[in-house]
Symmetry: D3
Subunit: 225 residues, 6 copies
């Protein structure tokens, strides 16, 4: 069984509004891919959720409930995503366990977050691990992992290839630093490491990147292995 | 057991953004009300959901999935609402049955929609019926039921009091007419009729209206009985 | 995917007792139909449920619980129906969402009602909408839609073909009138309209009608489109 | 916590039709009982279910599905029973585990069967065991346990008091004998034995019997301990 | 559909520790079997569970909770078992109903116990009955059914073939006797009888026995029919 | 509402066998504590689970399923723990959401893990956050947080008090270092930080420590705030 899990960050799937053009194009691309048995697709929350959450935060709302709201938003995005795919689940699974069960039935299984404390990247990695996928593609708003935040430091350099330990170290450094912009959280990287899942961090809006990865195993972003 | 169910239309709870000021004020008001054993609160979807849905509609998306997305949006609003109340459920029930079970445990049970084909007004009425509430308050964006659409016809008159059959007839006329702006759907009114639940249709943003109804059984809107 | 949903009214499936002869014959007929990918079958409650409910009504029992009892009865009938079919679900789904998920696995998915406030006709229509069925067959105890109640007025005429709006108008007139015998409820017709699902209202006991519809798209009942 | 579980056999709760007079009287009686913290009530299936099942059996239907149908019927009866009680669950639990959880919330928890292979007597006993009830009252259509089937042998004698082992032996003898009329199944008796739950087998229609047991610990039926 | 259910006793699957060698060998054997559409596999609890339970028993713990703990242990064993099989469920079903639904999707469905009061042999038999399996293989730690306990009486003789009634009688005699070592409980045998499921009681560790049964319908243990 | 969540590490609750003496003593202690409205108790997996998992790992079993097995083991331990407490849940919740809902009903809510990728410490912290607990007590096998691993370095010093950022840094250093013995994972510490939950890391076997914390807010371990 050749399966891949793709994490679509909220920043590319839901900007000012739902990025339906992308969803449609992305779905058409996947529909044409040959040689794979299944795709897990985990979508993030995006602008809408962040607006809701930042408004509520002013009222000192419990962070756990804010997370819960964010998770519900990812499920709405997941539902929207399903409408562009054939042979796809019609109910959004709320655990990786249920998603794995569904993977047996469909070519695509789309889901959002599961519970507070897990990013959608971590959900995607747990999903990949559970269904024995060798590859996890992380579609983000940046075109790969950089030595420093490219939006802040012009000397930041994109890294073509790194191993799990270096990625974890970099993720930790980012977490501690002032900017909270971490390319991938430590938990998701640790899971990738323990199960040897190859990660492709790419600009998620570039359709060609997915095709390159799925057919040639290469990309213009960063490979973590 | 003296219980009331309140339906808060999406148009008052979630306008351009979540109407948190209202939610807070409304919750504070309820917290001060004496003499009641429980409040069921059903919240609608609002602007956000409508934007999502109208965007997706351009892609010929299945209406059922659009409804499902709308229902998910109501649940997000319901989660937000719970953060302003004490002694309230922390999980949003997805059936009236579960909500009724929760009503035994909390002073407030907040929920959104349940399944495609039911408006949140209908959910509120089924909830009222199930927990033997005598009264259902419908907080809308208009200050009562009018003989015609007040935004279109200057001669439209607000109705102070009407019986179930007249309300159902008016709802039907509105449904058939060009404007899809129906004050309450036929199903919710039919349930009210069969179980004799008194309905107060009010401008949901006016906090005084709730107080008046809960203490005096009167309002400046419309009473259907 | 070519799918059809069939609503089998309680009046034909469960008369004095379960109409097992019909269930068997109906199932054999479906088993021989070629060219379809799946059949959703929604069964009603019938005599037994009505007896239970009318007995309880004398004790002023909450209508919501009576509906719940009625829904449980439809699920028993649905279970019975499954025993005559091959390649069918063994657990009766309690939401249209779950039923749609099952439709991926089986040639037949049989279910009953879902929650109070929805007729089984509405459940059938929501099911049809969700699985993108073009056609919904409504098997009733009458042989089509009549201009008036044929049991009361000898001049009532069967309508061969009508559009959604006329059907909705007629349904409304029937609802208001004294006789509560409505051929199909307004909610189910509205869903059909919004998604363009063609409805065949037929005498559900006549096996030939189903065959005619499935192969030729014609019937001796009424077509609403 | 002083709790009791009562098993109401289908033969007393649902004869030709639902025995609503009994349900009402029984509920009123329980409402007046002082000194108890909670009552578990497990209701059987009755005439209706048996008719359905015997009709289906003629079609060689899978016994497991017949059991499932019978269980659904007990849940309908359980729903009906709840309508006569205050402070009672509104959703019928489908496992003893869920019922035990509900027992914390209500004075009465009403349920039916759980899964094929368990009689409602066994469900009642498991429920008693789980909530640490000392007593299980078995309301049957006979007025106690007899040395032989009283309907067949005029010399059959009612047993006032017997120990678990003797009860189990008698149950086994009955099971083997031609008549399938066993006063209580072996599984339920074995559970009673391992947890020391005292059983009162009584004519379930006699309201005085319950009062006697609950206040005085005596009855005109049979005590198994 | 040719399906078989196999009950793997805890005593063979989990001795001092999980018997992984056996699990692997057993799984490899099943993977090579041709001519079957599906295998239900029900695994018992084993040594670990018994140690937990006997420790807790000293504290007078509720037997029902001990059963629940035992059931959880069977589910852990079931999860472990799934790791050796391809085309198998990834979520352990908690009811026979869910397991039957899964049987439609996989070649293997592995499960443990369901609820207190049911042995895993009974679960296996209910599973067999539900999915219309003709055969149930009971893999135990003894090589068949004996006239008496072979560990206590040297004259005990293995029975090659017996009918349901004799098996039930022997099970009853064993239950009553001092030794609690019953080859199969009465409930599971009664279900086999009512649905005509042929039982093979074998030494579950002997891989050849399974092959013999599946291809030739014979074994060195005991056939109950 | 004054609520506390206690995380009981597997290493103290389940050593060679279940540490029932401790469970009993711990429960008696909690039963005597005055002035609190509720206790969340999250128990770890312990020796048994680790043995199972390390055996399976030799067979290259999917890490996700191993996590799942570990989680099932924590639920068994949680079930065992419930047997020593009064006013406690009888069903082990599988999400923090469900646990929060139960907290409304009981003085004690006991649970284990929720899903792969979350330690039980993280579950405990999410639970604390959700129910607005100010304090999380982490009962471990060491008597506090040390500057280095005390079992490896004699100069390691116990830290009395540290802030969240220092704790996170130390946790990161431990994670990177050779020894995988991290006092608390980064995710749980981050949640504590964002919601200002005070952490007490103590030798979980010392009953006095809990009493000291609950009454005086002090301990002989480490306070993170």
């Amino acid at each position: 069984m050749k399966r891949v899990v793709i994490s679509l960050g909220g920043s590319i799937i839901s900007m000012e509004k739902l990025n339906l053009e992308f969803m449609e194009e992305f779905s058409r691309m996947l529909g044409n891919i040959k040689g794979y048995d299944g795709f897990g697709i985990v979508v993030g929350g995006g602008k809408l959720a962040r607006t809701y959450i930042s408004d509520l935060r002013k009222y000192n709302v419990n962070d756990n409930i804010l997370d819960e709201i964010g998770i519900n938003a990812t499920r709405i995005n997941a539902l929207a995503m399903t409408t562009f795919l054939d042979d796809v689940n019609s109910k959004i699974p709320t655990t990786v366990n249920d998603a794995a069960e569904m993977m047996h039935d469909y070519r695509y299984v789309v889901m959002g977050g599961t519970e507070p404390g897990h990013t959608t990247d971590t959900v995607a990695m747990l999903f990949a691990e559970r269904i024995n996928a060798d590859v996890m593609i992380n579609g983000t708003s940046v075109d790969g992992v950089y030595t420093e935040d490219p939006r802040k430091n012009r000397n930041a350099k994109k890294i073509d290839r790194m191993n799990y330990d270096d990625a974890i170290k970099l993720s930790i450094e980012n977490s501690i630093g002032a900017g909270s912009n971490v390319f991938m959280d430590i938990t998701s990287l640790s899971i990738a490491k323990r199960s040897g899942i190859k990660i492709f961090v790419i600009n998620g809006l570039k359709i060609d990147e997915y095709i390159n990865i799925l057919y040639n195993g290469t990309c213009n972003g960063t490979i973590i292995e």
